[in-house]
């Protein structure tokens, strides 16, 4: 019997370590023979901690919300008595979250022990590397990746095969493979999950990229905010070296490849290629003018393949199953699958992977289980600070690179933040602009100054100091920044503002004309209201109001003149009948 405890960052934060300790304690105390092992995140983060028990006959039982206090019951009934504790088992709906997905990058996450290379090999790992080394050459690999139509999963969707071919054709003896694990996009965590749950798959993809392009050194640039991912990558690299899959003369093929880890130091802009390479070189992570492109002069001025974690995690599948096999999944122009981080006001939060071309409706309502607390769906923010929002009318749109950019959004790294009817879209636009202003590296004027001015205007709007002219000004600035900024961060910085103005202009108008936030979430626009039915007409509030904004006749409901009100809140405290509320 084997007990597998899901230990991604999310599982650990939900108490998986305590669950593991409790299992170990009880097994020892009762002298039971069962192996306790760990796995990465299966994706159903809302059900963590998740524990799988593999019975002796090979069948598996999955327990969810397995906090330490439930362990004793499971040990007594299931491990000793061989009868599963039904009430803690995953529900049908919970299983459906997984069965409706198609997994390539996340396939092993939550299934295998990420700290044991043998688990990965048993699951078919490093077979693609062997095929690439002994049955193919660099040209053949590049061709296969090109034919498969793999496009970069980090945001832009650039054809990976084309990139590899360009690097391969460079006449430089020294080339590099760089893996972008600087997943700075707030609301996305698929790369973290791959690095924590299946690090070898990513390493295998990088080594194959090395064979394909003639590079011998790989760098993984990973965020310092992901300590567990770094730890597991270090273990994976050490084990791969020990087993001969990495290092000098891999599997006696004559090909050598080594991988180093570089920790990011917290700068969102380092997700941009030239900024990332500058950061690995120990410099300020600022993008530069292109050309020359990274494929020509990247890291240390040498030709560089730069792909993100998820993209590398697709490589071994393509090599094993061939381009044809890969193209069976997804749609013509965007083959394969895409992982999405489903978060925000949605019932089943977590990580999902679906074929490209799946509709938003399937993702949010079938897999995600709909909007939390039975509220109405308002919008979904896709692609983080570079993306846009999609609304009701986009629900049946296909999720792929091209349809999304047509709709003014982008797939980005795949963060899907669901927002319910109570979310203020102006507030969301402000949130993203604040983020981008903060993360702008300051090198080019349009981005540095433009995001600052746009953020200032949005600040005026959410605090009741805006006017209609400012909405036009936002659009004008957005246009200028998009067309003149140096790098991707700047070019897409205005997207959340533009898409919310396009889709929810009435909310902006309410903020600037009526000085009112329809969703009541902008603190600067809170209104104090007197509930007529509760007001006894005692005049207490009128007496305390310092600006004479409250008027009325005794024994009749009083009224507040919002134009005069300074929102001091004195009237709220003065009322004995709870008739005054802040909305």
């Amino acid at each position: 019997m084997k007990i597998i405890i899901g230990q991604g960052s999310c599982g650990i934060a939900s108490g998986a370590k305590k669950t593991e300790a409790e299992f170990k304690r009880l097994l020892k105390e009762k002298k039971l023979d069962a192996a306790v092992t760990i796995a990465g995140c299966i994706g159903s983060c809302y059900l963590e901690p998740i524990v799988d028990i593999i019975n002796d006959d090979g069948s598996a039982s999955r327990y969810v919300h397995m906090t330490a206090d439930k362990v004793e019951a499971v040990v007594n009934k299931h491990i000793i008595g061989k009868i599963p504790v039904t009430k803690y088992l995953i529900s049908e709906a919970g299983s459906a979250f997984l069965t409706k997905q198609t997994r390539i990058a996340l396939k092993n996450c939550g299934e295998i022990n990420p700290e044991d290379i043998n688990d990965y090999i048993t699951a078919g790992g490093y077979q693609a590397l062997k095929k690439a080394l002994f049955e193919m050459n660099g040209d053949a690999i590049c061709r296969e990746i090109e034919k498969a139509g793999l496009r970069g999963r980090g945001g832009g969707g650039f054809p990976t095969g084309k990139k590899w071919v360009q690097v391969r054709s460079q006449q430089e003896p020294v080339k590099y493979v760089v893996c972008n694990g600087d997943e700075g996009d707030p609301g996305a965590f698929m790369d973290r999950s791959v690095m924590e749950g299946d690090p070898h798959k990513m390493l295998e993809g990088m080594i194959i990229a090395g064979i394909a392009t003639g590079a011998q050194v790989g760098y993984i640039y990973v965020r310092a905010e992901y300590p567990l991912a770094v730890h597991r990558l270090q273990i994976a690299i050490a084990q791969a070296e020990e087993s001969g899959y990495l290092g000098e003369n891999i599997l006696d093929s004559g090909f050598s490849f080594s991988i180093r880890i570089n920790l990011g130091a917290g700068a969102f802009v380092c997700g941009e290629g030239s900024a990332l390479t500058a950061s690995i070189e120990g410099l300020r992570g600022m993008p530069r003018v292109k050309p020359p492109r990274t494929v020509e002069q990247g890291l240390f001025g040498k030709p560089t393949v730069l792909n993100n974690v998820e993209t590398f995690a697709h490589v071994s599948y393509i090599i094993t199953h061939g381009a044809e096999g890969y193209r069976k999944i997804g749609i013509e122009k965007s083959p394969g699958t895409k992982a999405f981080a489903l978060t925000g006001n949605v019932n089943n939060t977590g990580l999902i992977e679906v074929p490209m071309g799946t509709t938003l409706r399937t993702v949010i309502f079938e897999i995600g289980g709909g909007v939390k607390n039975g509220k109405g769906f308002k919008a979904v923010q896709i692609g983080g600070p570079s993306g846009g929002c999609l609304t009701e009318k986009h629900l049946d749109m296909s999720l792929d690179f091209d349809s999304l950019s047509k709709a003014g959004a982008m797939i980005g790294s795949g963060g899907l933040v669901v927002m319910d009817e109570d979310t203020c879209m102006v507030g969301i636009a402000k949130y993203f602009m604040n983020f981008t202003e903060h993360e702008s590296c300051g090198k080019c004027v349009p981005c540095r100054e433009g995001t600052h001015v746009m953020n200032g205007i949005l600040d005026d709007i959410v605090n009741g100091r805006g006017d209609m002219g400012q909405i036009d000004m936002l659009m004008e600035l957005a246009d200028t920044i998009t067309n003149t900024a140096l790098c991707g961060l700047g070019k897409t910085a205005a997207s959340p503002v533009v898409s919310t103005i396009n889709e929810f202009k009435e909310e902006y108008i309410a903020h600037v004309v009526d000085k009112y936030c329809p969703n009541g979430s902008c603190k600067g626009l809170k209104r104090v209201e007197i509930i007529e039915e509760l007001c006894k007409g005692c005049a207490k509030c009128q007496v305390v109001c310092p600006v004479n904004a409250i008027t009325g006749k005794r024994k009749e409901p009083y009224k507040i003149d919002w134009a005069k009100c300074i929102k001091c809140g004195l009237c709220l405290d003065s009322c004995n009948f709870s008739a005054i509320v802040e909305k």
């Binding site: 950061s279 925000g344 939060t349």
Partner: protein, 178 residues
């Protein structure tokens, strides 16, 4: 960083305050590594908890990078600190998912309870609060990570009560140790 903070005192005089033995070992290890400046600063921060002026001067002398260049890098990245921090670093996630799940309210609770704001340290040196971009635990939003000498722990699905409880537990622990 103001100019006078950097250069008001000759760093050579104050260098004795710090023990450079551990840093020296590391400097030797990465001597030949290209682009090693960020790695060195990260290690220095691990050793000293922040990047003291004296340490930057020392790194400059040892590596041949000008102090201006080192400060340029150190102030560019949010990870680096030029001031010491408290024993427990609260990293409060302000990612999108946390934002729509009420991370601002959580920030208010922490600020009111500890009487500090973002980037500040409590007078007793027990807590420092830092808002961070995204911790990647979006499904448990709102989330914070607390880092101390033992390691780091992530707390999810935060509520006002939960946060106050976590803070009081750490306070108790610190009081016991003191």
């Amino acid at each position: 960083m103001k100019l006078q903070d950097i250069g008001s005192q000759c760093p050579c005089e104050a260098q004795n305050k710090f023990d450079f033995a551990e840093l020296d070992l590391f400097l030797e290890k990465v001597e030949d590594m290209p682009g090693n400046l960020i790695v060195i600063l990260q290690q220095a921060q691990n050793i000293y908890g922040y990047l003291p002026r004296e340490v930057i001067a020392y790194i400059s002398k040892k590596t041949g990078n000008s102090q201006a260049k080192i400060y340029g890098v150190a102030t560019f990245y949010t990870q680096f600190r030029l001031q010491p921090i408290g024993k427990n670093l609260i990293m409060l996630c302000q990612g999108t998912a946390c934002h729509v799940s009420g991370s601002q309210d959580i920030e208010t609770v922490i600020c009111d309870e500890l009487k500090i704001s973002d980037g500040e340290t409590t007078a007793d040196g027990v807590f420092t609060l830092n808002n961070v971009a995204c911790l990647g635990c979006c499904s448990l939003a709102p989330v914070m990570m607390i880092q101390n000498s033992v390691g780091e722990e992530t707390y999810g699905n935060l509520t006002k009560e939960k946060v106050l409880d976590i803070i009081s537990q750490i306070r108790e622990k610190e009081a016991k140790e003191a």
